[in-house]
Amino acid sequence: MSASLDKGVAVLKEMIDAPIASYFESCVHCGLCAEACLFYTETGDPKYTPIHKLEPLRRIYEQEYTLLGRLAKLVGLSKPVTDDELEAWKELVYNSCTLCARCSLVCPVGNDIVYMVRKFREGMAVSGHAPDGLIGAVTRTIEIGSPMGVKLPAVQAQMKHVQDETGIEIPMDKEGAEYMVMLSSMEIMNFPEYLGAIAKIMKQAGKTWTLCSTAFEATNAGIQIGVSDLAKVIVNRIVEGAERLKVKTVISPECGHAYTALRWDGANLIGRPYTFKVLHILEVLDEFRSQGLLKTEGFETTRMTFHDPCQLGRRGGVVEQPRNLMNMVTKDFVEMDDPGKYNWCCGGGGGVSANEEAEELRLEVFKIKKRQLENVGAKTMVTACANCRIVLEEGLEHYQMDIPVVGLTELIAEHLAPDK
């Protein structure tokens, strides 16, 4: 138990880089990021203005790296950052930011605000100001292997269950397979349909694939809590597993931040390029579709809408693929306002859903999703992130809305044309 303010400040000094310096210098205080943040629009409280969530980091930048800031600190005009202050900022940095990056998208001077929040969390975590829920999740991931404490036997039990149900063998540790399929704990525990869907789709497409006994868990709580050293340990497991099995492509499951961690952050964390490709399952499915390897029949007739997971759409650029897939199997597909890269977050990303302290606020800001759904009158919600899915289900239940939430991969699998 060695977290301390000094450690946090030292890490923040290390984290402040040229992009952060230029972002702080170029902020024109226009406040557009507030209007882009669901925590501000749904509460009206100006403390949730995204750039304000970085105030202690900005002060450290000024006091350590600018001439005027140093002078101000010297004569006592600029107060040093204290433990109490960081504790007060915990709510803003962890509870009211889902790392959705809508603020980064709208910033007129191009400040990547979410990049700064992510870096600020590095200092917050090692100074002892991370929420307990996230500390628990990252501890379980490091010590047990999964944020929900799922171990290999639980995966094997689900494999057997899916095998019995579908009659398709679920491969494990098959060297030289084309695809290595990752799962998130939620898919193992709450949505086992996903694994069955993958088995059916891969069989139809005629592709070889495998699970990995040392790297089945795709989520990365180290990214969410904001400790790169821990995130690196978690990514390394997947890299080692994939390289051991010599697979060509690792498929990120229906999970937003797992995709970000593996696709965008991973190689930077381990400091070298991968020997394999990383794709989100929707990218793979759309690839199959365009190659004629994905054949479906029949259409859903109820009105359906698609919720873009922030890490997938806005951060990952996977926007067209889900639309292509939705149109394969639905007749009445409607878009909510601001679809694609401008989507509104479910309210539970970036570790917020693992953070009990944030629950009340999370349900409060779910009002934006509720309004969006009511506006289009959708009867079913489709998404491609297990975390979005559970947060949406909880929100809909809280507001007593009878709208089921399904994963897009499962929806596709339900409409697979039977083998001839």
């Binding site: 030292a10 000094k13 350590e64 501890t139 809590i225």
Partner: protein, 364 residues
């Protein structure tokens, strides 16, 4: 004179060879920025031309424009152009004097379609009595001359914009030809302004050659000047422009910068706001132009140049703040570089002091 001879006949009579004439046409074409293929067309047009009658009226002026013309450097060009027109009245150049001279003017005005060249501004105060020729005011003489004229060329800044006679306090109420037309004091005719104090001789003859060849007014800018000669500023065409771009300025007329031929902007050069062909055509047989002789442009081909402040005051940005800005920039850059080294060291120390975070580091 029953029939005016053509230009070709006239030239032959004067012993000018066809070859010399063609050389002139080629020179004229290049002067007007026309393609070389136009030279024969000019030769043909000019050769067949019955020499048009030209009346040159000198009003409130210093005769500098005529001096400029007669000191012209390419003799063939200027002399030939005068062989091509029938200069029926020019009170400085003509041999006749007194009644005979005025008679020549009146005779020339009987046949419509002649060209009027004016140098000097026209006084209008007190009935225009401040300048008269043979008892006739300049205003009246211009009025009569314009009645049957095809067009008028205002030679020099005085005729074009009022020039020095119009300079504050303008005791004679001097006005330009264009201004008189705008006020309805003289008949309205097409006007070509050829300003300059004086204008470049080849520019004067070039404008005439263009008019005679094409029978129409050349393209003019908003101040009535032919764009072929007045389209660029002196500054844009100045051979010292690279020094301006690098911020290398002469501070006095005898400092090192002046000796090295640096930009004269800070010594009041008006090149940036003056449109004329001096920097390309040059003066005195193509020898040089004022800036090349070490003096800034005084802006003589622009309206009201005499009242536009001292010739030796810079157009903008006086020298002192420039120095201040430079030193401030240098000081700022030095501080910036210093800061960057300090910051690098600090960030480097933070980086090398990095202890890999473990689960233990998450709680106090």
């Amino acid at each position: 004179m029953s029939r005016r001879p053509t230009v070709a006949e006239q030239l032959a009579r004067q012993g000018v060879s066809r070859r010399a004439f063609l050389k002139f046409c080629a020179a004229a074409a290049s002067l007007m920025a026309l393609p070389p293929s136009m030279a024969p067309a000019i030769a043909e047009a000019l050769g067949k031309l019955r020499r048009p009658s030209v009346i040159w009226l000198s009003f409130q002026e210093c005769t500098g424009c005529t001096e400029s013309l007669t000191r012209s450097h390419t003799p063939t060009v200027e002399s030939l152009i005068f062989d091509m027109i029938s200069l029926d009245y020019h009170h400085t150049l003509q041999a006749a004097a007194g009644t005979a001279a005025e008679q020549a003017r009146e005779d020339a005005m009987k046949e419509a379609g002649y060209l009027v060249l004016v140098d000097g501004s026209i006084p209008t105060r007190d009935g225009g009595i401040y300048s008269t020729i043979a008892g006739v005011t300049n205003l009246q003489m211009l009025k009569d001359a314009l009645a049957n004229a095809a067009a008028v060329v205002s030679i020099g800044t005085c005729a074009a914009y009022g020039g020095i006679p119009k300079a504050d306090p303008n005791p004679t109420g001097a006005k330009s030809v264009q201004a008189l037309m705008d006020e309805g004091l003289v008949p309205r005719k097409p006007v070509i302004n050829v300003p300059g104090c004086p204008p470049i001789p080849t520019v004067i003859t070039g404008v005439l050659a263009h008019y005679l060849t094409f029978g129409e007014i050349p393209e003019l800018d908003s101040l009535g000047r032919p764009t072929m000669f007045y389209g660029d500023s002196i500054h844009d065409r100045c051979y010292r422009r690279p020094f301006y771009d690098q911020g290398m300025f002469a501070k006095t007329f005898d400092d090192e910068g002046a000796r090295k031929g640096w930009c004269l902007f800070e010594l009041g050069c008006k090149g940036p706001t003056t449109h004329n062909a001096c920097a390309t055509t040059k003066w005195n047989n193509g020898t040089s132009f004022p800036i090349e002789s070490g003096h800034g442009c005084i802006g003589c081909s622009e309206p009201d140049f005499w009242d536009a402040g001292s010739f030796y005051t810079a157009l903008s940005a006086p020298a002192d703040p420039l120095t201040l800005a430079t030193s401030a920039t240098v000081a700022g850059a030095a501080i910036g570089v210093g800061m960057s080294f300090v910051n690098r060291a600090k960030k480097g120390a933070a980086k090398s002091g990095h202890e890999t975070a473990t689960l233990k580091d998450l709680e106090k």
